[in-house]
């Protein structure tokens, strides 16, 4: 019994000590010369891989530009990273954790669900947040504090549907993941647009933790579809590609921005599959950035590991890089590190010179983007090849 | 012969596990206020017979009658139809089963060979649990301590205290049941069974592990509770002096079969019993 008491008391002390440490940090940042940017990204869970690549872009940008001049004072920029575990129930406490560390602005997340879940925390705290690649419209729809620099699912879904129709496809097989708002949402918009174009669709969903895609590929073949639309996470993507090859799918695979990743090119290399994606960034579009970040990854083994073991760029990395600069510009425009001032400065912010195109926000806080890049995987070289830019019209 | 009221009657009770006949056509009668013994070498099927009476097992064939009413009856069914090795297969046609708690509610309480007290509870709680089945208040009322629930709880407590006084455990009422010395645990198990207000008490080796002095006390104790609680008792026991000392009628089982029954003197003189215990020529 007494042992218990000792345990409880010592834990209480530990709690106090920890809280104390955190508190000490606060006062340091308030009057000193450091500004904190919160990085709200998954480092584990379903979207761990994507989250890490996005974080990579932010880290590289931070390395390139570690200071920012606000007003006439130079601040060091410190990144405060927190893992939201790709899990809506963990996202709330993770977001709260960021807020309580006195960050000035938050970037992220990869995956819309966690961003939607965290939106209320940011709203309550008056914390400005910039979504990097969360494409679900709900992220910004009812949250004054949430902005984003990427295009939206209704746009992307329409673009993909138009591309499919333009390539002569009549019947599409659409696969999404149960309980994943990103894939379900994108499929929904795709279906809407594709049907409007006069196409036919077969919709199916696969459960959590599924790794057997044999039957889904077989279903697509049996139902006589001529395009396989699967805007799912890269984890599932690699498995789908593998099965497509094994069963000789015989139709093009179409996907959204998540697939613009080296995970896909790795998986597809040497296989007879036809993969086309829409994305935010065209590799080679900004040679200076490309070379710089690749050189950095060569040097930094952790960065290389986080990128999946090679230096091929993912679009989300480029987007993460841009997001960092948008955050810096916002702080400069606000002339302050106070979240409230930054929030006020964001709606009218215009940032140019970014690697994925200029950024400005509309009234809901979404970026004004009208075009997406269409890329195709070259399965011989294992690299993406630019096809065209496509708009929603 | 005996015109006392019959409280328990087993008719042709047979229990077969797979190919093994554990109890073979046991016919047994317990009259009101009688103390009946059930003896036999290890593995003779005594405890199995208890389990058939209390609903723990479903007998393969035969019936159990409690206070003049057939409450358990079975006949070989399904796979057992062909595998059945006992006799009287066609005699019973009904299949009446009864869960142990229902049997207890009919007034049959039991103790266990290897003491099964509730380990996490005090002596008092062990006894009070046995009174729970007579509670009429719902969970809701009991949880929110309605007037009725409080009255029932108080009554239970009073009764439990009285019962514990009678079995000399009052002093230990707040001790953990498992902290009692072995002999007292046996007493507590009997007290717990008594708390269910039984008319028949089944005792499974109550004197196991007791020295002669203790078993002597137990013998007196059993006689006393029979009178005090107006009980009929059926007991399994290896201690021959206990059995011979208090049982008015004794049944002897061997290899599941019933080889003899009668008074203590008759049993001691029965050649089949002596053979069963000493081993025959085969």
């Amino acid at each position: 019994m007494k042992k218990i008491l000792v345990l409880v008391l010592s834990l209480m002390l530990a709690m106090l000590a920890l809280a104390g440490c955190g508190g000490g940090g606060d006062s340091g940042s308030g009057g000193g010369d450091t500004v904190k940017i919160g990085v709200f990204e998954p480092a584990s869970g379903d979207n761990g891989a994507g989250g890490k690549q996005e974080t990579l872009g932010i880290e590289y940008a931070n390395k390139m530009t570690p200071t920012v001049t606000i007003g006439d004072k130079e601040y060091n920029v410190e990144l405060v990273k927190v893992d939201n575990e790709s899990d809506n129930s963990k996202a709330v406490t993770a977001a709260q954790n960021l807020v309580s560390q006195n960050v000035s602005i938050v970037l992220g997340s990869y995956g819309s669900g966690v961003s939607i879940a965290a939106a209320d925390v940011f709203a309550d705290a008056g914390m400005p947040a910039i979504g990097v690649t969360c494409t679900n419209p709900q992220v910004t729809a009812d949250c004054e504090q949430y902005f984003r620099i990427c295009f939206l699912d209704p746009f992307q879904g329409t673009v993909l549907a138009n591309y499919a129709s333009d390539s002569g496809c009549k019947k599409a097989y659409c696969l999404s993941k149960l309980g994943d708002d990103y894939s379900v949402g994108l499929v929904n918009y795709f279906v809407e647009a594709f049907k409007a174009n006069g196409g036919e669709v077969v919709e199916e969903q696969f459960p959590d933790k599924n790794s057997d895609f044999t039957s889904y590929v077989a279903n697509a073949k049996n139902k006589g579809c001529d395009v396989f639309f699967a805007p799912v996470s890269t984890e599932a993507a690699a498995l789908i590609i593998d099965q497509a090859e094994a069963q000789d799918l015989g139709m093009p695979i179409l996907a959204g921005d998540t697939w613009d990743s080296n995970v896909i090119t790795e998986a597809a290399k040497g296989k007879s599959v036809d993969i086309t994606v829409t994305t935010f960034y065209q590799e080679g579009g900004n040679p200076e950035f490309d070379e710089g970040i690749k050189a950095w990854m060569e040097e930094d083994s952790t960065a290389m590991t986080n990128n999946g073991g090679n230096t091929d760029l993912a679009a989300v990395t480029a987007m993460g890089y841009d997001a960092y600069y948008v955050a810096l510009e916002a702080m400069k425009a606000a002339g302050s590190t106070d979240p409230a001032d930054i929030l006020a400065a964001l709606p009218s912010l215009k940032v140019s010179g970014l690697v994925c195109g200029d950024v400005s926000f509309n009234e809901t806080g979404d970026a004004n983007k009208t075009e997406a890049f269409v890329k195709k995987c070259n399965t011989e070289t294992g690299a993406w090849e630019f096809v065209k830019t496509q708009s929603a019209e | 012969m005996d015109n006392r009221e019959v409280v328990l009657r087993l008719s042709d009770i047979t229990m077969q596990f797979g190919g093994v006949v554990a109890v073979d056509n046991l016919n047994l009668v317990v009259h009101k206020n009688e103390i009946v013994g059930l003896i036999g070498p290890n593995g003779a099927g005594k405890t199995t017979a208890f389990n058939c009476i209390t609903g723990v097992y479903e007998p393969t064939n035969g019936s159990v009658e409690i206070n003049g009413k057939v409450v358990i009856e079975n006949h070989p069914q399904g796979k057992m139809k062909d595998a059945y090795k006992g006799r009287n297969a066609g005699k019973y046609t009904k299949a009446i089963t009864m869960l142990p708690d229902k049997v207890t509610k009919l007034g049959v309480a039991r103790t266990f060979q290897n003491i099964r007290l509730f380990k996490g509870m005090t002596v008092m709680e062990n006894v009070m649990v046995a009174m729970h089945m007579n509670q009429t208040e719902s969970v809701f009322g009991a949880t929110f301590r309605s007037k009725k629930a409080r009255a029932e709880e108080a009554a239970m407590r009073a009764e439990a205290e009285e019962l514990l006084r009678k079995v000399d455990l009052y002093e230990n009422r707040n001790d953990l049941a498992t902290s009692l010395p072995y002999g007292k645990q046996r007493h507590l198990e009997i007290a717990r069974a008594l708390a269910t207000h039984p008319s028949i008490l089944l005792l499974d080796e109550p004197a196991a592990g007791m020295n002669p002095q203790e078993s002597d006390d137990l013998m007196k104790f059993i006689g006393r509770i029979r009178d005090e609680f107006d009980l009929s008792i059926l007991m399994i026991e290896h201690h021959m002096q206990v059995i011979m000392g208090i049982c008015e009628h004794i049944y002897v089982l061997n290899y599941g079969g019933q080889i003899a029954d009668g008074t203590a003197a008759e049993i001691q003189a029965n050649p089949a019993v002596i053979e069963a215990y000493l081993g025959g020529d085969e």
Partner: protein, 435 residues
Amino acid sequence: METTLNKKTKSALSVAAIALFLVFVYFGDIMISPGSSWKMLITVIEKGSIYALVAASMNLLNGFTGLFSLGQAGFMLIGAYTYAIFTIPAASHEAVYQYFDGGAIQWSIVETLEGSLGVFGHYLGMLIPMLGAGLLVAVIAFLIGIPVLRLKSDYLAIATLGFAEILRAFFQWNTLGPVTNGSNVLRKYTTYGNAIFPVLISGLCIAVILLLINSTYGRAFRAIRDDEIAAEAMGISLFKHKEISFVISSFFAGISGALLAMFQTTINATPFNTVMTYEILLIVVIGGIGSITGSIIGAFLFTAASEWWLRGLDAGRWLGISGSFMRPGFRKVVFAVLIMLIVLFYSRGIMGDKEFSWEKFISGLKNLPANLKAWPSRRKAKAAARRSVRAANAAAKNRAREAKASNEARIASGEALFTPLEVSDTVVVFDKEGK
């Protein structure tokens, strides 16, 4: 130094402590600015109190009735969804059910009652769907219980786990989209304003669980836990009491699900998986199986450790230690190792099967310095005692076995007929099963 207190003093102390805690939570939530790290304490208290409720409900089942059920996350899921579906404001339906034309249910209980009853209606409007969530879960648990509760321990565990998984798939089913929103999150439903809300509701519910455990029904549950066969022989209907415990436990799991929905502000069926059930189970184990106080302490410690204190392990800097091995995921490894250590070496958990008592708390405080000093030597003494008990047990077991064998031999040889047998009083002391 034993301390004795009378009943009045104890109640007064409890009331004072609870009131103090509530005041702290209420004003804490209002006064602490979001940017302060103390805000995290409030968040932990919110989530901790919700987990405390679900852990207590699981403890009622696992610790007090001896039913190893792993369906808790599934029941929380139903509770969370039921609450959310009926409190989404009419105006938000279009946005929430964006793929299902605004959904099938177009009104919110909160709004309806708020319209006629004002602020009181607002809270009533939150309590009614919460209670409804609990009741619905209770009904579903009742139905699931009919087949499942006849199963023995581990089969029961795996069957309840299976039901939870089926429920999850069901709630994500597109065909039910107009009600459950399919795979998409539910959001915009009414949530509480101050952290005191979940603390109060959880506290009340836990109080009810405690009352139940200490009623005659609670005693019957514990009897079933200790020995099913003996309990049945005492006239306790196993099925009826298991159902009662299962249904009540599920009811509270449903309530905590509703609270969790409010805490999270958005819900989605995916996280209500087996991992969540395991986490709740581990809270129960850390706190002590069979102790409600333990579950409460366990819930707060678990939440604080996983969401707050150990976060630094992921970020590469924790309590002044830093290193490259501290990368994302390290926190969870450390956490899992801690849990294994508790399971293996401290399996009774923090509280064992004891509840909190002021007497022990006060005498503990008084004796604390002395105990701290004496700890190492006492631990040694304890270890030695344990060793000797083990040796004694083994020896006694041997003796018992020999006595049994010799008795059997004597019975077989007929020597024992009509003469008392030699008896070893250690025969029955050992019971393998434990509780």
